[in-house]
């Protein structure tokens, strides 16, 4: 079995007053066993629809879905396994903790639904609650929980079932910033301990980068790009990926020719050598540089700027935010942003030289 979840050509149409809205335009995904896989994209991109289709809460219009080698949905074969018969569990954005049950009853529900009874249930519930750090909350009414605790109960309820596939729908988005970061660490921890294959949906790129083994970036019902966090951040192949994940400055460019280090292009900043996607340099139309990858230094007076990928400029404005300093710099008639650590500071109006590492210059095709 090579993939725990296989999604093929998934299509979803919603009827509108006039015509249909195609929310999913042929999604293909393969999630490996034990993998933490994230669907990342802006709201309306179809990531939640994809997740809910995998869960069986929505019935797609076309395509097929297989979980652990078992086909749970096939438009062609007319096969739809209902949500309760799929080997999955799910955590909802709203937590969906049942208010009329205690914490223990909430967590025991999936086991009861599987017709289990007796001391085994108590044991597994206690274990699941232990794992999310709520060991003492068994008899607490669900209504007396904080947001973070509800989140943990929802997690416990999802892992108690021991399903093959864990589905998480923006589970952290309703928490405040501090708690979100803490839960992120715990979630990653829990997942690697359990080794459960996880499909995660979020619009938060930072969350996606820090949690995932692999990420599928989605836009308008399509997967734009798929890769590991490092690949998507450092070597994006699409402008949407570059701009949606992290901050990206995009400059138009014209290809000049390959050289030893990469591919040489002409940009508004002058001629630069780009090391990423150089193999397709002859088709490059844009150059992407991230603000934090540019090193800024005070220009030595009287010394001409020379060398590869070094650009002379002048600081227009400085914005200090503690750990980082952000400079707005004018160079060759263009403005660009540079982020450096606040180790050293440069004043507005100072002349600077910018060093742009070849291996951080990304070429994108049209």
């Amino acid at each position: 079995m090579d993939s725990m979840l296989a999604v093929r050509d998934l299509v979803m149409d919603y009827p509108l007053d006039r015509g249909v809205h195609r929310a999913l335009k042929g999604i293909d995904l393969d999630v490996r066993p034990g993998e933490f896989f994230t669907l990342l994209g802006p709201s309306g991109c179809g990531k939640t629809t994809t997740l809910r289709s995998v869960a069986g809460l929505e019935v797609p219009t076309g395509g097929s879905i297989a979980i652990a080698g078992q086909t749970v949905f096939s438009a062609e074969g007319g096969r739809v396994v209902p949500a309760n018969k799929r080997d999955i569990s799910m955590v909802f954005q709203s937590y969906a903790i049942w208010p009329h049950m205690s914490v223990g009853e909430n967590v025991a529900f999936p086991l009861k639904a599987m017709r289990q009874a007796g001391p085994q249930v108590r044991q597994r519930v206690a274990l699941a609650l232990e794992m999310v750090g709520l060991g003492d909350y068994l008899d607490r009414p669900a209504t007396q929980l904080s947001g973070g605790q509800q989140q943990r109960v929802a997690l416990a309820r999802a892992i108690v079932k021991d399903a093959k596939l864990l589905l998480l729908d923006e589970p952290l988005s309703n928490l405040d910033a501090k708690l979100r970061e803490q839960m992120r660490v715990e979630l990653r921890d829990l997942q690697s301990r359990l080794g459960t294959t996880t499909l995660y949906v979020t619009h938060d790129q930072e969350e996606a980068l820090s949690l995932s083994d692999r990420i599928a970036v989605m836009k308008d019902g399509e997967v734009v790009e798929l890769g590991t966090p490092q690949e998507l951040y450092l070597r994006p192949r699409h402008r949407f990926t570059a701009q949606f994940i992290g901050q990206a400055q995009v400059f138009p460019c014209t290809p000049l020719g390959a050289n030893g280090a990469g591919y040489r292009v002409d940009t508004p900043l002058g001629q630069l050598t780009a090391g990423v996607n150089a193999d397709q340099g002859d088709r490059a139309s844009h150059l992407v540089i991230r603000p934090e990858h540019i090193q800024v230094e005070p220009a030595a007076p009287g010394e001409a700027t020379s060398g590869d990928n070094i650009v002379a400029g002048e600081v227009v404005a400085v914005s200090f935010s503690g750990k980082l300093v952000e400079y707005r710099i004018r160079a060759a008639g263009t403005e660009l942003l540079v982020q450096n650590l606040s180790t050293s500071l440069i004043q507005a109006g100072d002349a600077v030289s910018l060093r742009i590492p070849v291996e951080r210059c990304v070429l994108l095709g049209g």
Partner: protein
């Protein structure tokens, strides 16, 4: 972004109802509604074009329509019904709006007590209210007329209950609790920041009321108005108890008259049906109007958050006069009628309240009520009917709401409309249509039994029940149900363990409300009256029209007592749900 709207977590769930095992209840509820609502209406329509007026007889004629609609008396009847409905609606709105404003938005004293005083009259069956007011205001023997004549020496009676005005007065009184219950949430939920924003913008009290408060309340008031209008058109109790003996007819009492006391001796079903079709058309239109306005009203109230205290208007010197006004309403709607009923129930024959009559006091009527086997049977019938109908309505309402609000089942809009339509069908017409149905079909021999009345009540109260459960269904987040499904629970377990417990308070409130209304409902039970299936209100109406007011009063006193308890429980449940 336009596509955000289509993010299905926020839209209604597209649950795969076919696969989830939910198709059985969907089909079942659909079939039940067709049987309860569509079949009777179709038979009504067929009956109107049969020469004999009976659905299974052969032939086709439009003569009933011609006869009905060319008759001047029909248009007189329509006019009377309209005057009665509009008059009682305006009267009830006037009192209801004033009371709702006083309770919700002013510093009137003893608000809790006032609220109870306004809702308790629900326990008085309209037919009893009518009987009591006849005892108080009839031109010859009316207690108040006699008192006024004695005090001021009037020659003639000051008031005459046997008039359209009299009927409007009593009907208006009986509609006030419903008006109050519909309107008070609108007054309560009005976001004070909207008013404050207007005042900060420089609006005076007059402008504030005219430009901000009234427009915000308009949908709720219109919704209440249309609802009251529908009730005014369909109600039988008061026109039947006051107007019928005096020959002042409205739609419902005329239909009853033609069915039971037709001068020719035989019910004129063809003419009744032809007449009914006209009103049904209008009423169903009004029902849709009502639905339209309630949607707008809820849109206006749900945009506001919770956790604010509305500004309360300072009444200053008017605090106690305002309380006295509310107490006066309570006197008219409960105290005075109950007093005269109590007095009459302890008298051997109808006689005015006086010191001389105290010697006549007797408990005979009450003893009769508890020993007479007809009375005992009527009580058993009423309680059985009420318990069964209330339980069925509560369960079916829940299913209907789940299908309409939560599922994506095809045809759910039809189910919504079918469950709502009976609101606009007069009880006498439901009774009439059920006579057609159960005289036509032979496989259900329930004609003349209590079960045909149970079916009539289920049909009648399904609209109230399902509207109430709609509300609570909307409040249950879709994720709660989805979470059960992804936890491995099928449709049945999800309903049993998640949906029903979460909706329990609303289900209980519906159950008790229907119970109370089944105990007091007269019209369809009267139409469906057989030899052994009479209910308490039917027994009471029989005593009253048979010239035994004292026995009627004794039955009434005990009925009110039982209903007071039920209404009390209902209010308790409702308030706990709101809290």
């Amino acid at each position: 972004m336009a596509t955000t709207v289509l993010e299905p977590t926020r839209a209604a769930p597209r649950s795969n109802w076919r696969q989830s095992g939910a198709w059985m209840p969907v089909l079942g509820v659909g079939a039940l509604l067709v049987w309860l609502v569509v079949v009777p209406l179709i038979l009504l329509l067929i009956s109107s074009v049969r020469p004999t007026g009976f659905p299974t007889d052969p032939g086709f004629t439009l003569q009933h329509y011609v006869d009905t609609y060319t008759d001047r008396r029909f248009w007189e009847l329509a006019g009377n019904t309209a005057i009665f409905a509009v008059g009682s609606t305006l009267f009830a709105l006037l009192i209801g709006i004033t009371l709702a404003w006083l309770v919700e938005r002013t510093d009137m004293p003893l608000k809790g007590l006032v609220r109870t005083m306004i809702i308790l009259p629900m326990a008085t069956p309209p037919v009893l209210l009518a009987i009591a007011w006849v005892m108080l205001l009839s031109p010859r023997t009316g207690e108040i007329n006699a008192l006024l004549s004695a005090l001021f020496g009037f020659e003639d009676a000051v008031f005459n209950i046997y008039s359209l005005t009299g009927m409007i007065f009593v009907e208006g009184l009986s509609l006030v609790p419903s008006t109050f219950l519909i309107l008070s949430p609108a007054f309560r939920n009005m976001d004070p920041s909207l008013e404050e924003a207007a005042m900060v913008s420089g609006a005076g009290i007059g402008t504030l009321l005219r430009r901000v408060v009234l427009p915000l309340l308009t949908p709720a008031i219109l919704a209440a108005g249309v609802f009251l209008l529908i009730v005014g058109f369909v109600v039988f109790d008061i026109p039947g108890a006051i107007g019928l003996p005096a020959g002042i007819f409205t739609l419902s009492s005329r239909i009853y008259y033609l069915a039971h006391e037709n001068p020719t001796g035989l019910p004129d079903f063809g003419q009744i049906s032809a007449m009914a079709i006209f009103f049904l058309g209008g009423l169903i239109l009004m029902a849709f109007g009502y639905q339209h306005y309630t949607r707008r009203a809820s849109r206006f109230t749900t945009i506001t958050g919770k956790g604010f205290r509305p500004r309360s208007f300072k009444l200053r010197g008017w605090r106690w006069p305002a309380f006295a006004g509310a107490a006066f309403y309570f006197t008219l709607a409960v105290l005075a009628p109950l007093a005269i009923l109590l007095w009459t129930s302890f008298m051997p024959y109808q006689t005015g309240i006086s010191a001389d009559a105290v010697g006549l006091l007797t408990t005979d009527n009450h003893e009769t009520f508890f020993s007479n086997r007809f009375a005992v049977r009527a009580t058993t019938n009423s309680v059985t009917i009420a318990l069964v109908a209330a339980t069925v309505v509560a369960l079916v309402s829940l299913l209907v709401s789940w299908i309409v609000v939560k599922s994506k089942a095809p045809g759910r809009k039809v189910i919504d409309i079918l469950s709502f339509m009976p609101l606009a069908i007069p009880g006498v017409l439901i009774g009439l249509a059920l006579i057609y149905v159960y005289l036509t079909v032979n496989f259900l021999p329930i004609y003349g039994s209590i079960w045909i009345i149970v079916i009539a009540y289920i049909t009648t109260y399904l609209s109230f029940g399902s509207r109430t459960t709609h509300g609570v269904m909307l409040q249950i987040h879709n994720d709660l149900e989805d979470a059960a499904r992804t936890s491995g629970a099928g449709w049945g377990r999800t309903m049993r363990r998640i949906v029903v417990p979460l909706a329990a308070p609303a289900i209980a409130a519906v159950w008790v409300w229907v119970l109370a209304h089944c105990m007091r409902e007269l019209s369809s039970a009267l139409m469906l009256q057989g030899r052994t299936n009479e209910t308490l209100p039917v027994l009471l109406y029989g005593y009253w029209t048979g010239g035994e007011p004292n026995k009627a009063a004794a039955v009434g006193v005990w009925l009110i007592l039982a209903l007071l308890i039920v209404v009390g429980v209902w209010q308790f449940l409702t308030r706990r749900r709101e809290a």
